[in-house]
Amino acid sequence: MNRWQIFTRGIISENPVLVIMIGLCPALATSGTVRDGFGMGLAATFVLFFSNVIISMIRKLVPAEIRIPVYILIISTFVTIVDYAMQAFQPDLYRVLGVFVPLIVVNCIILGRAEAFASKNSVLNAALDGLGMGIGFTLTLVVIGTIREILGNGTFLGYSVLGSSFKQYPVTFMILPPGAFLVIAVLKAMINKYVRKEI
């Protein structure tokens, strides 16, 4: 597998949320608007990239028996950095994302990539993998956020796109929890039909 494939597979063919179905909690909870989804995606990408790089650097030093606690400590260090940086620079976003920022530490994507890829590959490959997976995660959140924000609120990034009459009677259902489940159900069904035809 060449470097380009390592980088791009996280975006479509091995998209963590829509294909592998991990990291579902933040994908559903923080995708009510495009801005929240993008913020969550960036935060997770930051943690994924740096934890992959560090874990790849120390992969020959860590004894196999204690590797999981070591990985969790490294990941939680970067999560704490994101947590405090977001509180300081983006307090509004932090208020919306709330408990989901510290919960990045148990996001299965990050520990999954650490265990399955970064602990066995070179630093450069691990960095590309982390970046690709992070971009795939962010894109998925932005797509879900776009659908939910346009239908549920009639806006995109806060700008009105469907006119004032729609804004008066939006499909409020879409920004509430049931809408999130429905959007991801439809996206997953489309992936099953058009991307993974063997299913």
């Binding site: 991990i22 909870a29 405090y84 919960l103 530490v105 299965c108 929890p177 159900a185 997953k188 099953n192």
Partner: protein, 194 residues
């Protein structure tokens, strides 16, 4: 909102951890295939969640807060929960064989269950005292169990239903979750909780 009864109802129904807060979805979709496994998982979660709430309450108020180490809470809590789960597993295996046989296989899965960690963070963010923390953890655990068992019963029926092949598996489970979630939306506003 300081009344323990209201905190319990809020955590149990109104702000149900799975359907309203979207926490703990991985075990929700992974283990809810039969009613039997869902019950085991639910009981294990109630048990560990309450223990974790007690222990992290102690760690936060007796160690992190006095020493000014609050910034370490993410690392401290996740490591506490991971070791707690290991410890509970060993203890049950040795002393309560029956309980271990019922819950044993679900315990390792709980370490990565974000619901446990979320409850410990929410207890601190909401500034709950010891009683309220316990009640909140119990309510959340019961809410998790109620939903996961209901959903498992639904999925047992779904397996036999004739559906489009591209909807099989996860997509139809998400559609079902959406409908159950819609039903739970009916609880919002109950006793003035939102």
């Amino acid at each position: 909102m300081k009344n323990p009864g209201l905190i319990f109802l809020g955590a149990f129904l109104v702000n149900n951890i799975i359907l309203m807060r979207f926490i703990g979805l991985c075990p929700f979709f992974g283990v809810s295939t039969t009613v039997e496994t869902a019950t085991g998982m639910g009981l294990a979660v109630i048990f560990v969640m309450t223990l974790a709430a007690w222990i992290t309450f102690g760690i936060y108020h007796a160690v992190l807060l006095p020493l000014g180490l609050v910034f370490l809470r993410t690392a401290a809590f996740i490591l506490t929960i991971a070791s707690l789960v290991q410890f509970v597993e060993m203890f049950l295996k040795k002393s309560y064989r029956g309980l271990y046989n019922a819950l044993g296989i679900y315990l390792p899965l709980i370490t990565t269950n974000c619901a446990i960690l979320a409850v410990t963070f929410l207890n601190i963010d909401n500034r709950y005292n010891f009683v309220n923390s316990t009640v909140f953890a119990l309510g959340t655990g019961l809410g998790f169990t109620l939903v996961i068992i209901t959903f498992a019963a639904l999925r047992e029926r779904l397996d036999q239903a004739p559906i489009n092949p591209s909807l099989k598996g996860y997509p139809i489970a998400f559609v079902a979750a959406s409908l159950v979630s819609l039903a739970f939306l009916g609880f919002s506003g109950l006793f003035g909780l939102s």
